[in-house]
Amino acid sequence: MAHDDRSARGIVRDVSDVDRDPELNPPSEPGAAEVPGQVPAVSLGQGHSSVPVVANHDVVDDEIDDPVFVTEKLSVSYGGAPAVLDVSLRVPQKQITAFIGPSGCGKSTIIRCFNRMNDLIPTAHVEGMVRYHGVDLYGGDIDSVQVRKRIGMVFQKPNPFPKSIYDNIAFGPKVLGMKGSMEQIVEQALRRASLWDDVKDRLDDNAFGMSGGQQQRLCIARALATNPDVLLMDEPCSALDPISTGRIEDLMHELKETVSIVIVTHNMQQAARVSDRTAFFIVDMGSSEEARIGRLVEYGPTDRIFTNPHDIRTEEYVSGKFG
């Protein structure tokens, strides 16, 4: 059905059509001058794209009120070489937003801007703007430690501390100086991660004795213990078996009522299953093979991205033609 729909509507469109389509080309952010109908000049810095990049990708979306993150032309380079360029999008609150795309397209790099984890890489240089509830995350007076207390992260490979389950969960609150009964905090975090019943009798056991799926849920519980506002998940299930993956996806559905989630995943089906909105990135080869630069192609509600994408590259990716 999707295919008929697409071909009926002529999915292979001219780029210029895209430009003139008001649905796709709404007025941009105040302050950015844009001549309607004109394809914005493509500036990659080094080399040009062989195909003009899609003009506007839902920078301002009517549906997103009071977004948790707003990025404007966010770009990251390592040691002078650009890695991902010009990402502008708005992440909604209390929803699951997925970043998908082939490997090397910069989705992890972008997500790591949201909690200033790129600071740990000396050669990384961030340009553009990332706003969190309106505050510029890279502003001069922002302390990355405080950022990370509000914005939590779960990594690709579970990385529990070599300590007891209890100590793993308690670490964040202790370091944060949270008040209240630590036992309650630990229990609540484990309940939120659907782990409490599994481990309530063995809180003093070493976390390394858990299975991979349990360890990852422990890491999620650990991140939740500080009551973050946002949870960033960088390919959290790629090291896990399908059953553990399913459990974590169910968990995400529960969590999004209290926590905004941004998930990076190379598994399209997963993005289709769990997320409310999806952003699709690609690797732009530029004029030479060396210039592998990540770019945002399309961003919008998940079912639209998967059933009726606007960009042909999105369509090719989600239908499995490449990636």
Partner: protein
């Protein structure tokens, strides 16, 4: 249309209202400074070594009794006599002779052990030999000195081998120092040999080579940088070794090239002289520093060469 909270060009809501008050970061900076000071202490130590040695050496040469030329060329070393002589040649000569004897012993033993452990020994044999080698490496040098004097010279050299050596002699010192440095050479050489990729060996085996041929013609040449590093490191240890030569090789500076006679090395001189209460500032006291400085320079050169070789073989395979 979209409602935007941010309407002006500035940062929008105050960071404080979103993140809370900023934390004080003085503690973190202070910790970094303290740790840096600790690390810098090692540099201070080196500076101290060089300063103390070089400083006193300069005043040593300023002393009327000493001439730079005489120091390096004269063959008479008697700094504590009433008419002191300061020719360092006997000391350097003894150091070199004993180190040469030590290397003559330790190189075949060390490389042989390394090759055996790396290419031939089964894991069980290796598990038995390696700790024994570490035990050998852990025995204090004073024990080896005792062994050289009380057992090796009388029973082995004079008794078993029938040589006619003096009670204190350079041969015993050299041979025992040689045994002492075998673990040093063996462990570095074995590391280098084990680091040779299996694919190189398999290429040779595939051509029909025997294990002996693979070891001698493929592994050892491929590991040459590391083996050399081990040898140079062993040489450095032999040059700097004190207790064995102090106890067993004697305290008689001599120009004799015969290792069967007693000979005082640079290290033995420092030990023998420093033991007593040499008055600070006396020429004898300064002589300790001059000889110490020469010793330090020699081992520094050897160590730098060894590190270069280690870096070279690590780079190739890692």
């Amino acid at each position: 249309m979209a409602t935007e909270v941010v309407t002006n060009g500035s940062g929008g809501p105050d960071a404080r209202s979103v993140f809370g008050p900023p934390r004080r970061r003085l503690g973190e900076k202070a910790i970094a400074v303290v740790l840096f000071c600790a690390a810098v202490t090692s540099v201070v130590i080196t500076v101290g070594i060089v300063a103390s040695l070089a400083g006193e050496t300069i005043t040593f040469f300023a002393d009327k009794a000493v001439t730079v030329g005489g120091f390096f060329t004269s063959s008479e070393w008697s700094p504590l006599f009433s008419d002191p002589q300061f020719g360092i040649r006997p000391l350097v000569q003894a150091t070199l002779i004993i180190s040469a004897i030590a290397l003559l012993v330790a190189i075949p033993l060390g490389i042989g052990t390394a090759a055996f452990l790396s290419e031939y020994a089964s894991p069980r044999v290796r598990a038995a030999i390696k700790p024994t080698l570490e035990l050998l490496a852990g025995v204090p040098t004073v024990v080896f000195g005792y062994f050289a004097l009380t057992y090796f010279t009388p029973t082995v050299l004079n008794g078993l081998l029938g040589l006619d050596v003096a009670v204190f002699n350079g041969l015993a010192g050299g041979l025992i120092v040689g045994i002492l440095i075998v673990p040093t050479i063996a462990s570095v050489a074995q590391d280098a040999m084990t680091a040779v990729p299996q694919s190189l060996r398999e290429g040779a085996y595939g051509l029909g080579a025997s294990r002996r041929q693979v070891t001698v013609r493929v592994v050892i040449p491929a590991a040459l940088s590391g083996v050399t590093a081990g040898i140079v490191l062993g040489a450095s240890r032999a040059v700097g070794e004190t207790m064995v030569v102090l106890i067993a090789a004697g305290q008689l500076p001599t120009t004799s090239l015969d290792p069967r006679s007693p000979m005082e090395t640079m290290t033995a001189f420092i030990g023998a002289t420093g033991k007593g209460d040499v008055p600070t500032g006396s020429t004898g006291y300064k002589a300790i520093f001059a000889v110490g400085f020469a010793l330090f320079v020699m081992t520094l050169i050897l160590n730098t060469i060894s590190i270069r070789f280690v870096r070279r073989y690590r780079q190739v395979y890692e």
